[in-house]
Symmetry: C2
Subunit: 98 residues, 2 copies
Amino acid sequence: MALLRSELGHVLRTNRLRQQRTLREVSAAARVSLGYLSEVERGQKEASSELLASICDALQMPLWATLREVSDRLAAQEPGWVPDTAEALFDDQFAGVS
Amino acid sequence: MALLRSELGHVLRTNRLRQQRTLREVSAAARVSLGYLSEVERGQKEASSELLASICDALQMPLWATLREVSDRLAAQEPGWVPDTAEALFDDQFAGVS
């Protein structure tokens, strides 16, 4: 079963690493403890809504964009999921071409 | 500050009502207490990831679709947000026309 905290942790961690920032930097900016942020990123702790908002602020990611990424990750794990319409059309067009 | 639990609660409640189901029905299907579901819907309690998954299952909404709705609601609250490209083009075309 896909869990929100695991996917959310993955998205937060991926974005922090993309920004080349350390746990120490982001936890200080978000005013959460380093241990808390680390557990949230590893999907081991549920982030409270308030602290999630602080972490998103510290990462300069709006909450809506964070949740969109989480939603996209979860959707991609669904059987039969297709990434987007353009890609689907492309696949149709070249179906059978090898 | 927009909080995940408030927006999530709103989306869960809206979908339950759209299905014309009672708190009692959905809480029984999700195996959570009626009081818990009610508090989650009102944004007064953080749903654990496991119980959120159960509630989504009970509502027959994938978690990704639930989060997409939450993300869309949050995005719509951002200043300067435009619902879609077509509307933006329409607005540009008629800018200054009154």
